[in-house]
């Protein structure tokens, strides 16, 4: 196999060999059920607690405020549905944004259609920043939850979380943030930011796919989402995924240790990539905010061409990239995020997301830019929208 240039780290990341190493003993050796009483299994309980405390520290939380889930999506569902159930007597209104991940948007839809909730979807400006004035005006006496993502998965825009936290606090409303993309990429301190609930996922930080966590601030009394055994202090049932919990802990330990250096390097590369693409490919725009963006995210729209064709041709040149989010690639609709920042339909269609990791080199970027130039040129020749 030729060398792949993997530029889709927002979709998922490579599980680090050190993480795999850390998980391995828990499959066939220390395989006990952590809820069991014998010593053999109790060591696993400790392994879980160690991982939990590493993760808690990474967001400035207490260890017992972290609850492991089966994915970032589950954490989002839990936060929204359990908060809705806990506070529906107080009110049935939720505020979120138009650019949330489907894990939040489709859960909101569920709450609307099946559970009688009302949801207000706040607009974003052309850079993808949530409109704070609109958000505050949307608050009603029956608003029980504000859910705004920390950073967007498509265009990388980082939201004014602290300000939103203050608004939520002022109005005594629970504040949830989907930090799946921001976790270990930007500094997060739940107390400083005033966040009550926070979701994250391991596979975006070089951990395994299929494990996430929900941070629940002590005192925020929401129920369970998955009901059953007494795991996770009675709040999330199901035999604990010991290997993945250990692996998640290890991944976060590494990601937090190298965060400063890594994000600095990624930011430089990102800016180099953005600069070259905008300078060398005509009829191209950068989507998202120029500086308030994830260190590893670049997102472009190339006028007159369509995303899938571009992706396939990049793939044939060993470059892995995406247009919208991976989990909606089965869909034909243009990205709801790009429409929300005001792009017309055809331009939204021609978008490309490149998300870096710290193994990407300037050489890789140079190669990628050259290929993009070639392919965009070729596709424009083919396009009925392009007149040269």
């Amino acid at each position: 196999m030729e060398k792949k240039i993997y530029l889709d780290n927002a979709a998922t990341t490579r599980t680090r060999p050190e993480v795999v190493e850390a998980m391995l003993p828990y499959f066939s050796e220390m395989f006990g059920n952590p809820s069991s009483i014998y010593e053999f299994a109790m060591q696993n309980k400790k392994a879980i607690d160690d991982a939990r405390s590493i993760i808690a520290k990474a967001i400035g939380a207490e260890t017992n405020e972290i609850y492991f889930t089966g994915s970032g999506t589950e954490a989002d569902n839990w936060a929204l549905i359990a908060t809705a159930e806990a506070f529906e007597n107080k009110g049935k209104h939720i505020i979120t944004s138009k650019i949330e991940h489907h894990a939040v948007l489709h859960t909101c839809e569920y709450l609307q259609k099946k559970r009688g909730f009302e949801v207000t979807y706040i607009d974003v400006d052309e850079f993808g920043c949530v409109k704070l004035d609109q958000l505050e005006k949307a608050i009603r006496p029956d608003t029980i939850l504000i859910s705004i993502m920390f950073a967007n998965n498509e265009i990388g825009t980082i939201q004014p979380i602290k300000e939103i936290g203050q608004i939520a606090k002022k109005h005594n409303i629970i504040f949830h943030t989907d930090a799946v993309q921001a976790f270990c990429q930007v500094d997060i301190d739940v107390n400083e930011l005033g966040v009550d609930l926070l979701s994250a996922s391991a596979h975006k930080v070089n951990g395994p796919k299929g494990i996430g966590f929900l941070y629940i601030r002590k005192g925020v009394r929401i129920g369970s989402f998955i009901h059953g055994g007494a795991q996770e202090r009675g709040r999330r049932a199901g035999t604990e995924n010991v290997p993945y919990i250990v692996g998640f802990g290890k991944a976060v330990e590494i990601a937090m240790a190298n965060m400063k250096e890594r994000t600095k390097k990624e930011t430089e590369l990102r800016d180099y990539l953005i600069k070259r693409i905008l300078a060398e490919v005509p009829y191209t725009r950068l989507n998202g905010h120029r500086t308030k963006r994830l260190p590893n995210n670049a997102n472009f729209s190339f006028q007159f061409i369509e995303g899938e064709s571009l992706l396939i041709m990049l793939d044939m040149n060993n470059i892995c990239a995406s247009s919208g989010s991976a989990c909606t690639s089965g869909s034909l609709d243009p990205s709801h995020v790009l429409l929300a920042i005001g792009l017309p339909h055809e331009i939204a269609h021609g978008s490309l997301r490149l998300t870096l990791n710290d193994e990407i080199t300037y050489e890789d970027i140079d190669y990628t830019v050259e290929k993009i130039k070639e392919i965009v040129y070729k596709l424009r020749q083919m396009s009925p929208l392009y007149e040269d």
């Binding site: 369509e306 899938e308 064709s309 396939i312 089965g330 034909l332 269609h349 083919m382 396009s383």
Partner: protein
């Protein structure tokens, strides 16, 4: 996800381009995905399609089906061209993923649109040709869960 033939037609599309002063030209859009296809026909006095070109703003399947469709109608009579359905195009490409079936309709409709334009210019009526909609759409999938 795509067959070898689709990939071949996608990467080396046949008959891509424009025809100056075409006998007929038709542009159709796909309401479902927003993609667009334009078909140019050069038709001789015997009603034979001497040349055909296309331009497509669309997914891999759209490009490949345009390419294959042009191959299938080139040198054919109008009557023969009318018989080239999206199913025939798909078969010639060894199939498309279920979610991409609708893309192949674009090619069929673009041919019809170009023929309609030709008929209007000529002031003739082509047997079996209905006025194409500018936006096409397939019938809803029977079972959304099945792809």
């Amino acid at each position: 996800m795509y067959t070898k033939k689709v990939m071949d037609h996608f990467t080396n599309p046949r008959n891509m381009g424009e025809i100056e002063n075409p006998s007929g030209v038709g542009t159709v859009g796909n309401a479902k995905c927003g993609d667009i296809m334009r078909m140019y026909l050069d038709i001789d006095d015997n009603g034979v399609i001497r040349d055909v070109k296309f331009k497509t703003f669309g997914c891999g399947a759209a490009v490949a089906t345009s390419s294959m469709a042009t191959e299938l109608i080139k040198g054919k009579t109008i009557e023969e061209a009318l018989k080239v359905t999206n199913k025939a195009v798909m078969e010639a490409l060894d199939g498309l993923p279920p979610v991409k079936v609708h893309c192949s309709l674009l090619a069929e409709e673009a041919i019809h649109a170009a023929l309609w334009d030709y008929a209007e210019k000529k002031g003739i009526k082509i047997e079996g040709l209905r006025k194409p909609k500018s936006d096409i759409h397939e019938d809803e999938e029977e079972d959304k869960q099945d792809y």
